[in-house]
């Protein structure tokens, strides 16, 4: 069931230009980092910074399209759905992040 999000839960984390295009930055959370990605089209996505394979730091991977390739063993993870691409299987927790005219807001409650 999707977590209900009130504005109270959204955190301002910085500005779009703080994240390199086709790159990512991390937001340190008490229970582990969240990776915030920026695509070539300036979309932003947030995933737990842990690969479903063996917990590799996805924020350090190479971003292409709406995917990131994990730096440790090249699993490819969808930024939008957090799912590993064929033939690998697994999911990474997703978080909502919004670009409100340049300012980025993150909701640290896992999506569904």
């Amino acid at each position: 069931m999707a977590a209900v999000m009130t504005d109270a839960e959204w955190i301002e984390i910085g500005r779009l230009e703080d994240i390199p295009r086709l790159g990512a930055r991390t937001v340190g959370m008490p229970d582990g980092d969240i990776a915030v990605f920026r695509t070539s089209a300036d979309e932003v996505f947030a995933l737990k910074d842990a690969c479903p394979h063996r917990g590799g730091p996805l924020s350090q991977g190479i971003v292409h399209g709406r995917k990131v390739t994990c730096p440790l063993h090249n699993w490819c993870i969808g930024l939008a759905d957090g799912a590993a691409c064929e033939p690998d299987e697994g999911h990474t927790t997703r978080y909502a992040v919004e670009n409100r005219d340049g300012a980025l807001f993150l909701c640290p409650v896992p999506k569904e």
């Binding site: 984390i13 086709l22 991390t26 959370m29 190479i62 390739t69």
Partner: protein
């Protein structure tokens, strides 16, 4: 309890979260995913793992997460309730409820027993002392690994498969191991005398000690084990005793539930016990009077059991013929069926003591009745197949021992191999994958490599013994497909162009950014992918040194962070030590940094320098600053597709054999070439004489000093695929040596495909081509060396200084935000 209506979900409870139980569930899910609510109880606090991989786990060849078959996620994803670390203690068959230690009570319509077996502990005094361990589960292995850290002497009781694998593992962990065996020959249930002797000999060579025909009488020690005593009174010191003398089916629970058991839980050909609602599979069962201790039978049992649970079953389990392999890396041993023989059998024996090969095939009226292979087990699968199918071998009997390729005539090159085995032939015994499954997977997911097949099917991912077979299948299956496909290797899936074509375009069309390349050569993916982006980045920079700039987003993290990412997300820092020469100032700086930033591991690398492993990413810029300010140290590019190290030996300066100053020459070469990016990493070495202590002959560019000058070698590689370097030529002076070196590097930079080391590069273009460009054509050599030096102007800036002093890409090293 009333029966459920057909459309209601049935409750299936599985007792035993092991290999047979979960394989049955996997097979069941394949047939009828939604008809059951499945609950699994496992006594062990883990998901389901590949028990046979406990041996490599002990030997340190695998990690726990690598031997997991089903992660907890798998249970969730398939809606299976898993009670792990929670043994079932009672079954009420009237009310159809199981009771677990935790207090959980779960009702069932169908019950599956898969409780495996328990290690047999010999009934001698002291068998309960601390430090006496069996070899059955992960906890046992952890126990042994702990012991190996603090203790020295291990005694393994039992010279069978388990015992030897335990002994080998403990030896790998640095213990002195003695194997105690009751009989006069090892693995007497699988091997005949000659094979057993060869096995013992090669294990002794590796450092194991054996004590044969020894009956253990007592285990000595007050609290913890101190030794063992044998019949006849003599004793042996021991800090650890591993009992690997056999297993007995684990039937207590079944017995207490009143199910009929003898040695194991009695089942019929549909894997049902005497209570038709209760099924049993795996080592806990006794079927047609046989019990099994290997996985192959369980795959067959699981299949049959699953179909009957799903009520689509007509299949019957009729018992298994088994074969054995020993999982001791470097020892090839195969055994199946009746290898001893009797008056009605004949032996075909092949022996080659020099190659350490022994084969014995036992024939009963022209059919294979059993086989023992040592040293060369390639055809084990084939003999096993002949045996199971009872094939008459008369026509090729004379060639039988030479293996399938010869026996079936034709030329061994176009390997008869696995290609024409029947679909149900088991290729991967460890994971029970048949040829059919593999071929199907290759087709469905168009798999092109052994690795890809492994990911899809698990075949070849355990002991690896079957990987050649899998490779053959990939080739055989793609055979036609390959002809159809363009016979060139493209940069990646984003384009149909080859490396050479892309590179030519970059040069001729003056493309200087990866985006421009993708645009101009209309890439399928606008952003490209993790394969092509780093390649394009390299080609642009190498082709246009004074214009193109490295694009961070297109570089692998190590080259972006200028440090090697570690498996836990920390980094390692390797400063350059030119030619492996250092001094107190550098060492002091490293020592201070290691303390100040509490670096967990400081290690001397294989490249003659020092690695600080486990640094936090945020600390990197500060670490680099300290290293530079206090030690004058710069990046060693240990993370980059670039010049890595120049190993040297002490040479003429000190060594009584040295004929030239190898150290100075190495240091000079490293000063000339550091910072230069290449298609792949590049390593050099200079040895002061032909004794070659710097291992120049396994380097990308190596120099061996001679009385008369210098021998230059290229294309060596000591890595995944060992390749001795080719001799490029001999030169008289160090100046020449340097020029040839730079010219060769530049040639490789201009012609090498991204991610292609010099070894495969030279095999592709041919040594003669390299000689023609670098040795025979002096003009060209000079030109190459000049182009190299030109590009070095732009390359030789220390990335660490840029990032620590000038704060380049600071944001890479600090989080966007910290939320506490």
């Amino acid at each position: 309890m009333a029966d459920k209506l057909p459309e209601q979900k049935q409750d299936l409870v599985v007792i035993g979260n092991g290999m047979a139980g979960m394989r049955t569930v996997e097979d069941l899910l394949k047939i009828r995913a939604d008809d059951f609510n499945i609950t699994v109880f496992g006594a062990e606090p883990y998901g389901n793992y590949n028990r046979i991989m406990l041996s490599p786990l002990l030997a340190g060849e695998k990690q726990l997460d690598e031997i997991m078959i089903n992660s907890r996620e798998w249970y969730d994803d398939n809606g299976i309730t898993l009670y792990s670390g929670d043994p079932v203690e009672a079954i009420d068959r009237k009310r159809r409820i199981v009771y677990a230690r935790s207090g959980a009570e779960v009702p069932y319509d169908r019950l599956l027993l898969a409780t495996g077996s328990n290690p047999f502990v010999i009934p001698v005094p002291g068998n309960d002392l601390d430090g006496v361990i069996t070899f059955r589960d992960v906890d046992d292995v952890n126990g042994m690994l702990d012991a190996s850290k603090s203790q020295r002497k291990a005694v393994v009781i039992g010279g069978g498969l388990l015992g030897l694998e335990a002994a080998n593992g403990l030896m790998k962990q640095g213990m002195e191991v003695t194997v105690v065996h009751l009989m006069d020959a090892l693995m007497e249930r699988q091997l005949d005398a000659p094979a057993a002797k060869m096995l013992q000999a090669s294990l002794e060579e590796r450092g194991l000690t054996f004590r044969m025909e020894a009956k253990t009488e007592a285990i000595l020690g007050r609290k913890r084990v101190e030794g063992v005593r044998f019949a006849g009174g003599d004793q042996l010191k021991a800090d650890l005793v591993v009992m690997a003398v056999g297993i007995k089916p684990n039937i207590e629970l079944a017995q207490s539930a009143g199910l009929h058991c003898e040695r194991g839980v009695i089942v019929n050909d549909t894997m049902q016990t005497y209570d038709p609602r209760v099924y049993a599979v795996g080592e806990c069962v006794q079927h047609r009077n046989a019990t099994y201790g290997l996985v192959a039978p369980l795959w067959e049992q699981a299949k049959v059991c699953a179909t009957h649970l799903a009520q689509v079953g007509s299949g019957r389990y009729e018992g298994s013929v088994t074969s054995t392999k020993l999982k001791v890396t470097g020892i090839d041993l195969f055994s199946a069926g009746d290898f001893v023989g009797d008056e009605n059998t004949e032996d075909v024996v092949f022996q080659d003591p020099r190659r350490g090969v022994y084969k014995r095939i036992v024939l009963r009226d022209n059919k294979v009745a059993g086989a023992v292979l040592y040293g060369d087990t390639g055809d084990g699968g084939w003999y096993f197949q002949l045996m199971k199918e009872g094939t008459d071998v008369s026509e090729f009997r004379d060639r039988l021992v030479f293996g399938r390729a010869y026996a079936e005539g034709g030329d061994p090159a176009n390997d008869a191999g696995v290609a024409d085995l029947p679909d149900d032939a088991q290729i991967c015994d460890c994971n029970g994958v048949c040829k059919g499954d593999i071929v199907a997977a290759i087709g469905e997911h168009d798999l092109k490599s052994v690795a890809a097949v492994g990911k899809q099917t698990k075949a070849g991912t355990s002991c690896g013994a079957c990987q050649d077979a899998v490779a053959q299948l990939v080739e055989a299956t793609l055979g036609e497909g390959l002809e159809a496909a363009p016979d060139k290797i493209t940069v990646c899936e984003c384009t149909d162009l080859s490396h050479d074509e892309v590179r030519a375009a970059i040069v001729h069309r003056h493309l200087t950014t990866t985006a421009a390349v993708r645009e101009a050569l209309d890439w399928r993916e606008p952003d490209g992918c993790h394969k092509c982006r780093p390649a394009l980045n390299y080609y642009c920079v190498a082709s246009w040194p004074d214009e193109a700039e490295h694009e961070d987003a297109s570089r692998f993290i190590n080259e972006r962070a200028h440090a090697n990412i570690q498996k836990d997300g920390t980094y390692s820092v390797v400063p350059r030590m030119f030619g492996g020469v250092t001094n107190p100032r550098e060492l002091r700086a490293i020592a201070d940094v290691a303390e100040k930033y509490d670096i967990p591991t400081v290690k001397v690398t294989g490249g003659q320098r020092i690695d600080m492993l486990g640094a936090k990413k945020q600390d990197l810029p500060a670490i680099w600053r300290d290293l530079r300010e206090q030690g004058g140290l710069v990046s060693g590019h240990a993370y980059a597709k670039a010049l890595r190290t120049v190993k040297t030996c002490v040479g003429k300066e000190w060594c009584r054999f040295g004929v030239q100053d190898s150290t100075t020459l190495g240091v000079e070469l490293e000063h000339l070439t550091w910072g230069s990016f290449m298609p792949h990493k590049f390593k050099m070495a200079v040895s002061g004489c032909p004794r070659n202590c710097a291992e120049a002959s396994i380097k990308d560019f190596g120099i061996v000093c001679l009385e008369s000058g210098y021998e230059l070698q290229v294309g060596g590689n000591g890595g995944t695929r060992l390749r001795g370097a080719d001799v490029l030529c001999r030169v008289k002076t160090p100046e020449e040596a340097r020029e040839y070196c730079l010219a060769f590097i530049q040639l490789y930079r201009e012609e090498g495909h991204y991610f292609e080391r010099t070894a495969p590069y030279i095999e592709r273009v041919g040594l003669d081509h390299v000689k023609a460009c670098v040795v025979d054509d002096a003009e060209n050599r000079k030109a190459l060396a000049e182009r190299f030096n030109h590009s070095q102007q732009f390359a030789q800036t220390d990335p660490w200084e840029a990032r620590s002093a000038q704060g380049v890409n600071r944001e890479h090293y600090i989080p966007l935000k910290e939320v506490s």
